[in-house]
Symmetry: C2
Subunit: 439 residues, 2 copies
């Protein structure tokens, strides 16, 4: 399908900087961005008047890259607001785990669909997921036409780490409809759910493929302290000892890094994936972003699951990342990093963290993954600094349209995701009540 | 006008607790809520089938009281995202003050209109404003049909505190269209912009009228420390020494209260108005909410101005108030207060803080100030705990309709506020550019 977006502001990313192209047009052809142009283009009039299957007048609204959700547990939407304001371990062991143990593939499929709706409505275009029932959640993403990367959740109870390699081959080589939207990466759940033997076996696979590695790292102080008690080294040093950071990758949360841990991240081109919404709500701690920026550590962003967060909303994540770490540091002048850098973390860096340059930015020849921001939302007015505005003032109400792989999946509150919204909600509600009845 | 809302969930507040009435109806007649009823009502069918000027099928969406913005500087929208990530005093003295000094009544009128749009789109139904150019911003609120309370901004540079009494009489007794939407309260800007003489004169007025008093109190550590250096007592003790807390009222921000300050608030039935968005973004500090709840201090909520926050969004304020003070306290079990209590602060308590029982809750005979929450927004699904969901997962995208004084001012992204939205944005942008050109 060919679509012309006209009268747009277009957020370009060039030489590591953002700039807004005014009065611009963007042509999508099939899955790709075919052309970006302005009145200065010598064929302007001709290109504008060519035939397109759809012409969208953006009326000055902004086209920007999608947000990349680099750490998620999408099927957990069913636990949203089921229990809150509880001690962490009571919440986890008494609320979450017993219910998750009862999940069927059918449950996971429909609960994932709710997350997909939420992603689209808040401008997110990629979910990096870590959860059981992989076939079930991958099916939901494929049926909806949404991008997903499986970050393997292996833990020692699964016994044989070769499953990581099998899943890597399987999910990177799917055939059929929307198979190109699915990928897989090497990884484990965490240090605390593994042992020396399994980690050694995983390291062998990673070194054989020379590919990046992803895991939960240093989310809570307790987890970090217990690793040090077990191994006399931090979780980062532990994974690094096995060479698991040699080809990059990322540590989800990365709240309790030491300075040496940060230096290792920097040296190995390893990313920290920020999950402020979850960390703040569960009081897990505050990541030292002023120091991370000073050390130039690579960072991306994620939402974690809806049970802990409780929503899947990058506007909230960006506001929190821009403010809470400054509040909780010595940087009372607020100068250690800027809103633009958080915006880059939420968009460009997410694609880089998973080596997906084809969805990194809006550029001719790249895949057409984009979001339209409603500049007529009052929180965007008057127009002073568009990026700062998105980071500090934006909300999901500012998202007018989300396109993935050249297809408009969300526009003005309406979804185009295979299943009907009412069917998704009704089925999920029914399945959730059936699951609760089994407890 | 008579309006029937049918097939609604209605959030009732009874005996200090919220509960949701399912399959319920609500009739608005003129400015008031005439009737709330369910199928159990003996005249159910007859009432449902009576004649109304408009019937709104809520399709299971929630009707709840409006949020009450108890501390705002509405005209400051023009400074939104103009400068950020700067040291506080540089931001204030070099960015804000020189521009504010150039403001005309016309500027203030149009910038206030942007705030009104933002309030409506996020379910806020009252703004308690502290700013210069009172006639100008009051005009915008009246023209839009939005509620405003003037919290007097007197400071010693105005020389004669009698202006507080004059304004109190004037704005509490306006005549004409929407005059009933305007009120005024006694107050001053702060301790640091006053002196013993002016504060004594203000105290005389407050005691003569036996009415509550409102001011900025303990927003920053510096402000608090400087008061102690000047007067050997805290700002709260200072105001209390003059008897200014004798009839209640509120301290805006109240971040740096001592335990004794909290005890004074409690004893005098004085409210703390939370402004987490501003406090977090400007790194002003974290209010000790676990201790405030333990001491049962009364609290309400505000947004502060758009220059510091940078948006006017109670969903953000509620999430921050529910999480950041726990993160930054010893309450690692997260049990010191619950989401429901923050929701009460954002709604019921706001009306109580300004002695406005007529807009406190949805009840027959009260004024029809209400919000419809879109339960079909994916962040509201599945439906586990509606109030927790609004506090932790909600966003402005969940607001479908806002009604004030029986009139629908916002519905499905469309405004009914006297001026056209495009006119508001264009005029505000033009005036802002003219103002900047004068610098």
């Amino acid at each position: 399908m060919s679509i012309l977006f006209k009268n747009a502001r277009i957020l370009k990313f060039e030489d590591e900087n953002f700039n807004v192209l005014n009065d611009a047009c963007l042509i999508v052809n099939g899955k790709k961005i075919k052309k970006i142009f302005t009145k200065e283009d010598k064929n302007y009039k001709k290109t504008l008047d060519a035939s397109y299957e759809r012409v969208i007048d953006c009326k000055g609204n902004l086209l920007m890259p999608t947000f990349k959700n680099c750490h998620a547990h999408s099927p957990m939407t069913f636990l949203r607001s089921m229990r809150d304001d509880l001690p962490l371990r009571e919440w986890l062991f008494e609320n979450c785990f017993p219910k998750e143990a009862l999940l069927t593939d059918d449950d996971v499929y429909w609960y994932t669909y709710i997350a997909i709706l939420e992603y689209l409505a808040s401008g997110i275009g990629l979910s990096v997921d870590m959860y059981a029932h992989k076939d079930a959640y991958v099916s939901a993403f494929r049926d909806a036409g949404f991008r997903v990367i499986i970050s393997h959740d292996f833990d020692e109870r699964n016994i044989d780490p070769n499953i990581i390699e099998e899943d890597y081959i399987k999910y990177n080589n799917l055939k059929g409809k929307n198979a190109d939207l699915v990928g897989a990466r090497f990884g484990v759940h965490s240090e605390y759910l593994n042992n020396d033997k399994t980690i050694k076996q995983v390291a062998d696979i990673v070194h054989r493929y020379k590919k990046p590695f992803y895991a939960h790292i240093c989310e809570t102080k307790r987890e970090t302290d217990e690793c040090i008690a077990r191994h006399k080294i931090t979780p980062v040093e532990y994974f690094d000892k096995f060479g698991l950071l040699d080809y990059g990758g990322a540590g989800y949360h990365s709240v309790w890094l030491t300075e040496n841990d940060m230096d290792i991240y920097k040296k190995k081109n390893f990313y920290a994936v920020l999950n402020l919404g979850s960390n703040v709500k569960l009081a897990s701690g505050t990541i030292n972003l002023p120091l991370m920026f000073k050390k130039k550590v690579n960072m991306a962003m994620g939402t974690d699951g809806a049970a802990s967060n409780n929503n899947l909303n990058f506007f909230k994540e960006m506001f929190l990342a821009s403010s809470v770490p400054k509040l909780n540091s010595e940087d009372k002048d607020l100068t250690s990093y800027k809103a633009e850098e958080i915006f880059k973390i939420a968009t460009i860096n997410g694609a880089r963290c998973f080596d997906m340059p084809e969805i990194e930015s809006l550029e001719e020849g790249k895949l057409a993954d984009l979001v339209m921001i409603d500049m007529k939302n009052p929180s965007m007015q008057p127009i002073n600094n568009i990026i700062t505005n998105i980071v500090y003032s934006g909300s999901t109400a500012c998202v007018k349209l989300t396109m993935i792989n050249g297809k408009i999946l969300y526009e003005d509150g309406k979804y185009n995701v295979g299943e009907k919204v009412d069917t998704i909600y009704k089925t999920a509600e029914k399945l959730k009540n059936q699951l609760l009845a089994k407890l």
